[in-house]
C-alpha cells in the first residue's frame, strides 16, 4: 500500500450499498465482526473501497479511524483496486532458499513494476506473500489463484506471455 494514491471518492451504486447492508445485517449479532465484514467486502470487490468503509462506519457505528486502523494493520487487506491478473510470489523460507528473490526481480523487470504495484494498463498486479504452505513445491508463484510450483527464472516469460495470449483471444 506504500505510496499508493487512493482513487477519488465516488458515489456508491445502489447495489453495492444494498450488498453492504446485507453483509452488516448478516454479521450484526456476532461479536467482533468487523474483520469478517471487511473480508467479505474485499472478496467481492478485490479490495476495500473507501466508500464502503465510510458506509460501514455509518452502519455499524464503528469510527472510521478504527476501521482504517484494522485495514492498514493487516497485510491481507487492500485499499486500491488491483490489476486484472494477480501474480503473487511466495516469500516463505523454503522458497527464498530456492531462489524466490530471483523470480521476483525477473517479474519486476519484465512487468516493469515493483512488488505491490500494478502495471499502467491495469493488467498485472505483482505482490509477495509470507508463505502459502506449499513448501514441497518451492519456489512457488500463485497466478490468479493457481499455484505454480518449482518455478525457474526461465519460466517467468512464459507465465506472462500465457496471460497476454489469453487476453488477446478473449478480445
Amino acid at each position: 500500500m506504500n505510496n499508493t494514491v487512493l482513487p477519488p471518492l465516488r458515489d456508491l451504486e445502489p447495489e453495492v450499498q444494498q450488498e453492504i447492508d446485507e453483509c452488516v445485517e448478516r454479521w450484526s449479532d456476532q461479536e467482533g465482526n468487523l474483520i469478517m465484514i471487511l473480508h467479505e467486502i474485499q472478496n467481492h470487490h478485490g479490495y476495500v473501497p473507501r466508500e464502503a468503509s465510510l458506509l460501514l462506519a455509518e452502519k455499524t457505528g464503528v469510527p472510521l479511524a478504527r476501521i482504517y486502523e484494522v485495514l492498514t494493520f493487516y497485510h491481507y487487506f487492500r485499499l486500491v483496486p488491483q490489476g486484472k491478473h494477480q501474480i503473487t510470489v511466495c516469500n516463505g523460507t523454503a522458497c527464498y532458499l530456492k531462489g524466490s528473490a530471483r523470480l521476483l526481480s525477473e517479474l519486476e523487470n519484465r512487468l516493469e513494476i515493483k512488488e505491490g504495484e500494478t502495471t499502467d494498463d491495469r493488467l498485472f498486479h505483482l505482490e509477495t506473500v509470507r508463505c502459502i504452505g506449499c513448501c514441497g513445491m518451492a519456489p512457488a508463484v500463485v497466478v490468479d489463484g493457481t499455484t505454480v510450483g518449482k518455478v525457474a527464472t526461465t519460466d517467468i516469460a512464459g507465465i506472462i506471455e500465457k496471460i497476454h495470449i489469453q487476453e488477446e483471444t478473449n478480445e
Partner: protein, 606 residues
C-alpha cells in the same frame, strides 16, 4: 473400455508426501494397494488404462508401500526396483532387465511384472527390491543375487534372510492418522474411521475432570511452540467462575516454511474439530473459534464443511446428543499478521481489533476473549486429543522421552531430497528425520544445518544433527520446537543472508507497540545488511549481541523476545562467516552475492 465401469473414485486430504504431489492411490480387491506419485494428466490416463484396465503397474511413478513384509504367503505378482544409493545412476534400468531375463528363463515373465519405483522410502541401501503383494523388501542386492531371488523368493516363496531389510518404520502416525485416508469432506467417512468416538464416550461416560486427567496423563504439551502442558492449561481455564468460556483453535500458521497445520486442516478437519469439542467439554466452554489464515482457502472451506455437517447430525449446537450440554463453533479469518500467533494478539484480532499483544498476566486462561476465560490450542495439539481420549493417556505417553512425550509432526523442506510431512516420536534425532525418512541432501551438496522453529527459532548445525528432538534439547541449542518447520540448508546457503532474512521477517511483522522490538529489530537489521554488503566493522557483532539481549529481556511479546534467535544461533555456530564478510570487505561480499544469484557453488568462489 467395454462395459460401464463401476469403480468408485474417492478424494482424500493431504497425505504429506509433498515431494511427490499429486498422488493417486489404487486399491484393488485381492491385490496390494499402490500409491502413485507425481501424477500428471498423462500418468492419470495411464493409471486408468494400464493399471485399472489391464492390471499392469505403471513404471516410475510408484511410491512403495511403507509397510515392510517379513514373509511371502502367496505368489509374487510384481517386483519393484529402485536404486537407493546416493549417486543414483542408471543401474536400476540395467538391473530391471536382468531380473526380467531371469524371470523369462524360468517362464515367469508373464506372471511377475518388474517395475521401477519413484521412491521406496529407503535410502543409501544400494539396489532395493520390493516384492508385491507381501511387501518383503531386499536391499543392497547385487547381480549375483538375482538367480536366488527368482528361484527362491518368487518360485518357492522363501525369504532371503541375508538381504531382508527390516529396519522399523521411524514414523508413528497419531496426528496424521487419517490424513490421506479419509475423504475430508465426508462426515460419514470420518465416522467410519472412528472420528468422534472419543468425544461421544467422553460426553456420555466421563466427567470433564476425567478428560483433563487423561490429557494430563498423556503428557501432551502445546505443539504451537512454547510447549505448555495442555492438561494444565485446560485445568487453569476450567477453574475460574464465569458466565461464558471460550476455546480457540490457533490455525494461523504464520511460520514461513511450515505446512503441517495446513495439511492437517485440509486432510482431516474432523480430528481438529473433535479436539476442539473435547477441549470445550473439558473446560466448560460454550463457544469455539477456528482462527484460520485467509491464505489457506481450502482449509477454511473444509473446516466450515466439517462444522456444518456435525451441526446437522446434532454433534454440535444445542443440547448435543441429548446430553444437555451445548457448544457451537465458528471460523474467524486471519488477515496476514504473524504477531496474531501470539495469544493476546490473536484474541484482539478475533474481537475485531488490530492484533496488538497485551502484557501478561492476566493470562487468557483467566481473562481472554471478551474478558472471559479462554483456552487457545494449536491445530496439532487438538488433532492429537481425540486419539488420546479414545486410547487413554498412557498409550500416548509411551511414545517420546521423559519430559517430551508423544509424537510431533515436522514439515521438512528446503535443500532436502524428499520434502514431506513426517510424524515421529519425540526424541528421534534430526539426522534420522532428514536422512532416514526424507532421503538426505538434495543435489549431493553437503548439509550445513537445519533451521527449526521459523523466525523464532535457530539453526542446528550439521555436527549436532544427532541430538534427540525434545523441547529442552532444542532450547539448549538456542533453537525452539516452534510449530515444527524444519528447513534444511546446504553449503551454498549463506548464514549472514539467512539471519537477515528471518530478522527482516520479524521487523516487517512487528506490531510496533513496544520499542525494543520496533527499534531494536530495525537497528539490528541495518547492521546485518551492512555486514552482508561487506561494510561491517569489528565492533558490529558485539553491538548485535547487545541489541539481541535487550530485545529478549524487554520486548512485550513472544515475537520480539524470540526475533533475535536466528541471529544469535547463526552467530554462535557460524561466526566465522560473519567475520569473513567483515574482513573480506565489499569485493568479497560482491563475489558471493554474484555466485548466489547464478546458483553457483559458494565453496568454489571462496
Amino acid at each position: 473400455m467395454a462395459a460401464k465401469c463401476q469403480i468408485p473414485i474417492r478424494r482424500v486430504g493431504s497425505y504429506g508426501y509433498a515431494f511427490a504431489d499429486p498422488l493417486v492411490e489404487v486399491k484393488t480387491a485381492g491385490a496390494p494397494t499402490i500409491l502413485y506419485g507425481l501424477v500428471d494428466e498423462e500418468a492419470a490416463a495411464a493409471i486408468v488404462y494400464q493399471h485399472v484396465g489391464q492390471g499392469k503397474l505403471l513404471d516410475g511413478h510408484i511410491i512403495g508401500s511403507r509397510q515392510r513384509g517379513k514373509t511371502i504367503d502367496g505368489p509374487v505378482t510384481a517386483i519393484l526396483v529402485r536404486d537407493s544409493s546416493r549417486d543414483e545412476g542408471d543401474k536400476t534400468e540395467f538391473f530391471k532387465e536382468s531380473i526380467h531375463a531371469e524371470l523369462t528363463e524360468h517362464g515367469l515373465a508373464d506372471t511377475v511384472q518388474v517395475v521401477s519405483a519413484l521412491d521406496l522410502g529407503i535410502y543409501d541401501e544400494g539396489l532395493t527390491v520390493q516384492l508385491l503383494p507381501s511387501g518383503v523388501t531386499y536391499t543392497n542386492v547385487l547381480s549375483r543375487d538375482i538367480t536366488r531371488l527368482v528361484t527362491e523368493s518368487v518360485q518357492k516363496q522363501e525369504v532371503l534372510d541375508h538381504l531382508l531389510y527390516s529396519s522399523p518404520d521411524l514414523q508413528e502416525r497419531i496426528v496424521l492418522r487419517n490424513c490421506g485416508i479419509i475423504d475430508p469432506e465426508s462426515l460419514d467417512d470420518a465416522l467410519r474411521h472412528d472420528s468422534y468416538k472419543g468425544f461421544v464416550r467422553a460426553l456420555t461416560e466421563q466427567s470433564p475432570e476425567q478428560v483433563i486427567d487423561t490429557v494430563k496423563t498423556s503428557g501432551l504439551r502445546g505443539r504451537g511452540g512454547a510447549g505448555f502442558p495442555t492438561g494444565v492449561k485446560w485445568e487453569l481455564t476450567r477453574k475460574p467462575e464465569a458466565d461464558r468460556k471460550f476455546v480457540i483453535c490457533n490455525a494461523d500458521e504464520g511460520d514461513p516454511g511450515a505446512f503441517m497445520d495446513r495439511s492437517v486442516l485440509e486432510g482431516d478437519p474432523h480430528a481438529v474439530l473433535e479436539g476442539l469439542m473435547l477441549a470445550a467439554f473439558a473446560i466448560g466452554a460454550c463457544k469455539g473459534y477456528f482462527y484460520i489464515r485467509a491464505e489457506y482457502p481450502l482449509a477454511v472451506k473444509r473446516i466450515q464443511k466439517a462444522i456444518d455437517q456435525t451441526r446437522e447430525r446434532g454433534l454440535l449446537g444445542e443440547n448435543i446428543l441429548g446430553s444437555g450440554w451445548s457448544f457451537d463453533a465458528a471460523i474467524r479469518l486471519g488477515a496476514g499478521a504473524f504477531v496474531c500467533g501470539e495469544e493476546t494478539a490473536l484474541i484482539a484480532s478475533i474481537e475485531g481489533r488490530r492484533g496488538s499483544p497485551e502484557p501478561r498476566p492476566p493470562y487468557p486462561s483467566v481473562q481472554g476473549l471478551w474478558g472471559k476465560p479462554t483456552s487457545i490450542n494449536n491445530v496439532e495439539t487438538l488433532a492429537a486429543v481425540p486419539w488420546i481420549v479414545a486410547k487413554g493417556g498412557e498409550a500416548y505417553a509411551r511414545f517420546g522421552t521423559e519430559k517430551s512425550k508423544g509424537t510431533k509432526v515436522f514439515a521438512v523442506t528446503g535443500k532436502v531430497l524428499n520434502a514431506q510431512l513426517v510424524e515421529v516420536p519425540m526424541g528421534t534425532s534430526v539426522r534420522d528425520i532428514i536422512f532416514g525418512i526424507c532421503g538426505g541432501a538434495q543435489d549431493a551438496v553437503p548439509i550445513k544445518g537445519v533451521q527449526t522453529g521459523g523466525p523464532s527459532g535457530g539453526i542446528i548445525p550439521e555436527p549436532y544433527l544427532d541430538t534427540p528432538i525434545t523441547y529442552e534439547n532444542l532450547s539448549e541449542l538456542g533453537s525452539i520446537m516452534g510449530s515444527g518447520g524444519m528447513l534444511v540448508m546446504n553449503e551454498n546457503d549463506c548464514m549472514v543472508d539467512v539471519a537477515a532474512f528471518y530478522l527482516k521477517f520479524c521487523v516487517d511483522e512487528s506490531c510496533g507497540k513496544c520499542a525494543p522490538c520496533r527499534a531494536g529489530g530495525y537497528q539490528m537489521l541495518q547492521l546485518l545488511q551492512k555486514i552482508a554488503k561487506g561494510r561491517g566493522e569489528p565492533g558490529d557483532l558485539d553491538l548485535i549481541r547487545r541489541i539481541c539481549k535487550a530485545m529478549q529481556c524487554a520486548s512485550l511479546c513472544g515475537l520480539g523476545q524470540t526475533a533475535p534467535n536466528p541471529v544469535l544461533s547463526s552467530l554462535r555456530f557460524f561466526e566465522d562467516e560473519f567475520l569473513a564478510y567483515i574482513e573480506g570487505g565489499t569485493s568479497y561480499a560482491r563475489k558471493l552475492k554474484k555466485a548466489r544469484a547464478e546458483g553457483r557453488n559458494l565453496k568454489d568462489v571462496v
